[in-house]
Subunit: 420 residues, 2 copies
């Protein structure tokens, strides 16, 4: 059995690599036609999709999985429509492959530049959301990559149903079916096997809980783009416009508390704390936010919870907020360096020097001045659809759109140059 | 003992991370001043350096290490001068940190862009050449990174002597000394420990033989930029200008056969083989190149060696050349896809369509039209000094200059934007 999982994975890798060679030179028009066809077929076959999804849902219920889990697993009409919209959106994005931003001439006359090319084969390892199957396949295909999809075992029927629709569109478009492969083995061993296929796979992207991501990062021989967690802060400087600060902090915390770009810690300069905190606390209280404060904060807001040590740097993903009042900007920067997660950091200030200092020193994939942390998102930043947010610095740092699923190679146009 | 290696490595990692925070905001002027000071000190202290190098050379001789090894280990006057020149050259390069190539405006008025920032902490793992200590430290410092240097145990006295000179310049420039650290432990276990410090190190760059690189790639939890080998080809198309083809192939093979961007395989279209090969063979023979041919090649060049299967895709690093005569461009492209190493591929042709096809399809970090493979080098391509050539696609593909030792983060200038 183990032998056969190994063989099957190697075979998937080989087929993906062969498909990638073909995809790398595919026209934009062919890729877009296929994506739009997948969208049409999903709408046409939505009853079949829902039937297969029902099987997964039934199994999940029998296993007694949580309602949050079942919610993520469900291909509701809304989720189906969003997959269709996503496909059409990706088709409308401009194709990064073949871009040559700049060429330069060497003294010997050689014209040198960089051309954007696909990465090759990408392996996505994710958990219960079956819509990731379509979202990831669409972005990978548009960027000219073959993709190997290893979703959660509890979503296997849904994932295979979606893959079969993708295959139909690929066939009609005369693109190799193995451009998009769902791993049909639900055995966890398959993940281990995939992570060793450095000969065939160029990049692994895990999506899911921190446990999954750490497992992949620690066991992969293939480069991994990862997003551990989002512990985002807003620093309300002593030169903050208070109206803006209230709105930005409120939006960062409350607009969607369960996501990675929500604010988890608010840092307040003591010089404006007395003016800023009471009104902020009132708005948070009305919205059901539990504030957990440091000693200085508690001296102003008597009735909030004292923060435990473990609250600093915690990713609550909930209506809970750690509040730290600091005596200086240095202290704020030290706090962020210590507790930030390289995701998103924002400052509210009207002071130019301090805004520029924050921009330079805060080590995060997005640093904002006078705006909500909630903007760290491929769509919001203008990249189009994204496949995740990288909080490690190699290759991509921040939202990963189409461009982050490509690389560049050097090209040189000569007329007989040799090296002396 | 094992415990103490672990502790020592963690300490090196922590110190490097603290230094990196300081380096990330250092002025270009301060970095350049330090680099120029290192150059001056190397000249001033060259007798001390040579004395420490002598200790390593004596040990190496006593161990009976090869003369090639001892050659790489020797800090001759020429090598010392080249380190000094390298430092001055890096000081003269423009600073990539802080570059914002482009900003764009979102419909809500948010100004968004990407700013170039250092990677953080880079760990170099290399073998016997002590000059790598200075070359790597200079590039890392200029790009705003802290660097941990783990050279070969046989070069430890030389490396520590060079590090002490770097430290003197750092102190004088008021930059933390731990910006450049040479690991003082020659025990191999130290490498294993370093490769697990993902909390402190952002990137590992191994330089040396394939064994070292594979070891690092397979054991590192930290992203690795690697260069396995260079199996470079020149495809002499049926539409080649023969004069150019002779010169380019000769230069690619003979100008410096022991390096990664030398040609190891020559692919010849059969339509011009009869005209091209005899004169080419004559020039190669005069230069002492041993040609190993396929059957078709042997039917034209009767007196060369028949190629063994293992000659295809072999990195000879010597005056040996595999020669394959092909019936079509498809066959040439298949050959390259099968035996190339993603390093450098060149075509000689006067045909526009075929030149463009080659450019698109050849999967290598540099693809050349009508020029020698020997141009795959940071200096030759106009990037300035390089720290190696990446043949894997993530983050960097091709020569790694200063820019490849940095990354970008997103920045956003707002005036109160919140997400609706």
């Amino acid at each position: 059995m183990k032998q056969s999982i190994n063989e099957l994975c190697i075979n998937i890798g080989k087929e993906a690599k062969a498909a990638a060679r073909c995809l790398s030179t595919l026209s934009t028009e062919a890729k877009n036609r296929c994506l739009l066809r997948v969208a049409d077929l999903i709408l046409k076959r939505q009853d079949d999709i829902k039937r297969e999804n029902e099987k997964d849902l039934k199994n999940a219920e029998e296993k007694g999985l949580s309602s949050a889990f079942i919610d993520r697993l469900t291909l509701s009409q809304k989720v189906i429509n969003s997959m269709v919209d996503g496909l059409r959106e990706v088709a409308a994005l401009s194709d990064p492959v073949g871009e040559v931003p700049r060429m330069w001439k060497r003294p010997n006359g050689l014209q040198v530049g960089r051309i954007r090319i696909p990465l090759g084969v990408i392996c996505m390892i994710y958990e219960s959301r079956p819509n990731v199957t379509i979202d990831a396949a669409a972005l990978c295909l548009k960027a000219g990559n073959a993709v190997i999809l290893r979703g959660g075992s509890d979503a296997i029927h849904s994932n295979l149903a979606l893959a079969s629709i993708f295959h139909e569109a690929l066939r009609e478009s005369e693109i190799p079916e193995s451009s998009v492969q769902v791993v049909p083995i639900t055995d966890r061993e398959a993940v281990n096997e995939l992570l060793r296929l450095e000969e065939y796979i160029d990049l692994v992207i895990p999506r899911g809980g921190e446990g999954l991501i750490r497992f992949v990062a620690e066991n992969s021989r293939i480069p991994v783009l990862k997003h551990y967690k989002g512990v985002c802060h807003v620093f309300v400087d002593k030169y903050a416009d208070l109206k803006r600060a209230w709105d930005i902090c409120f939006n960062s915390k409350v607009q969607r508390p369960g996501v990675c770009n929500a604010m988890e810690g608010m840092i307040v300069h003591e010089n404006i704390a007395k003016e800023f905190l009471p009104e902020m606390a009132k708005r948070f209280k009305d919205a059901g936010v539990e504030m957990r404060g440091c000693k200085k904060t508690l001296s102003i807001l008597k009735d909030i919870t004292p923060a435990k040590d473990s609250d600093w740097g915690e990713e609550f993903l909930d209506l809970i907020l750690a509040v730290k009042t600091v005596g200086s900007m240095d202290e704020a920067m030290d706090y962020i360096a210590c507790y930030g997660s390289n995701h998103t950091e924002a400052i509210v200030t009207e002071n130019y020097e301090r805004a520029m200092r924050f921009l330079k020193e805060a080590d995060a994939s997005l640093v904002l001045i006078n705006a909500s942390t909630r903007f760290n998102d491929g769509g919001q930043l203008g990249l189009g659809a994204e496949i995740g947010i990288s909080t490690s610095k190699l290759h991509a740092y921040g939202p990963m759109g189409l461009e982050e699923l490509t690389t560049t190679k050097f090209i040189a146009f000569g007329n007989g140059q040799i090296r002396g």
